[in-house]
Symmetry: C2
Subunit: 126 residues, 2 copies
């Protein structure tokens, strides 16, 4: 089995039209680590527009804002950070992800074993 597989991607639909999944979680984590929506988006190869849009969705769909942005600052880009509410949101999601992978490890491995073994290709051999 290839390294790092199986991988799980968990999306949780919290309410009608309100979903939280790996994309938003990685974006929040990136904002927490870089202090910038743009930098967090870049890391995920996500356009600035897309990153802003996701932050906007979260800020309006969740009971409290998850990201706050300070205008201006050097470079004019301001800085962004998670609110305590946003930190809790991310932590709770990561906890569910981790538990899933730990507790279902055996079942996940059984499932992954049902995939065709990868062919040795030039790309794989490199």
């Amino acid at each position: 089995m290839a390294d790092g597989f199986p991988k799980t991607r968990l999306r949780i639909v919290l309410a009608p039209g309100v979903a939280f999944g790996p994309g938003k979680a990685d974006l929040l984590q990136g904002i927490a680590e870089t202090g910038s929506i743009r930098a967090a988006g870049n890391r995920l190869r996500m356009s600035y527009k897309r990153a802003w849009s996701l932050v906007g969705d979260m800020n309006t769909q969740m009971a409290e804002p998850v990201v706050v942005t300070e205008k201006g600052g050097s470079g004019g880009g301001g800085g962004s950070r998670l609110t305590p509410f946003g930190e809790v949101l991310l932590t709770r999601f990561r906890k569910i992800e981790v538990r899933l992978v730990q507790e279902a490890a055996e079942d996940l491995a059984s499932l992954a074993a049902m995939a065709k073994p990868p062919l040795a290709t030039a790309e794989n051999a490199e």
Copy 2:
């Protein structure tokens, strides 16, 4: 909280380029229940082409075929059914889904409670 929420959608990447998630699982279940790829696709509002394409992906990416189709028959459409291998694949995936929802129920509810309560709209009131 709205009925039936939170919902989880779990996608498992078994190997590079080989994923199995709710769409394929529902399609396999539909084939098992209807004996027809077309009928299973219809039920999921999935085009026939898309349903066939997903079945083709599974049959080539998994270690054994998951769906077999008999040509001809009344109506000319033949019939399709899961192989024993396909049944095991579906059962293993459903087991992981069920365990996730059961074991993470409390954490999922905590996460869902962070969404903004839905507004009473004309649509909701109907």
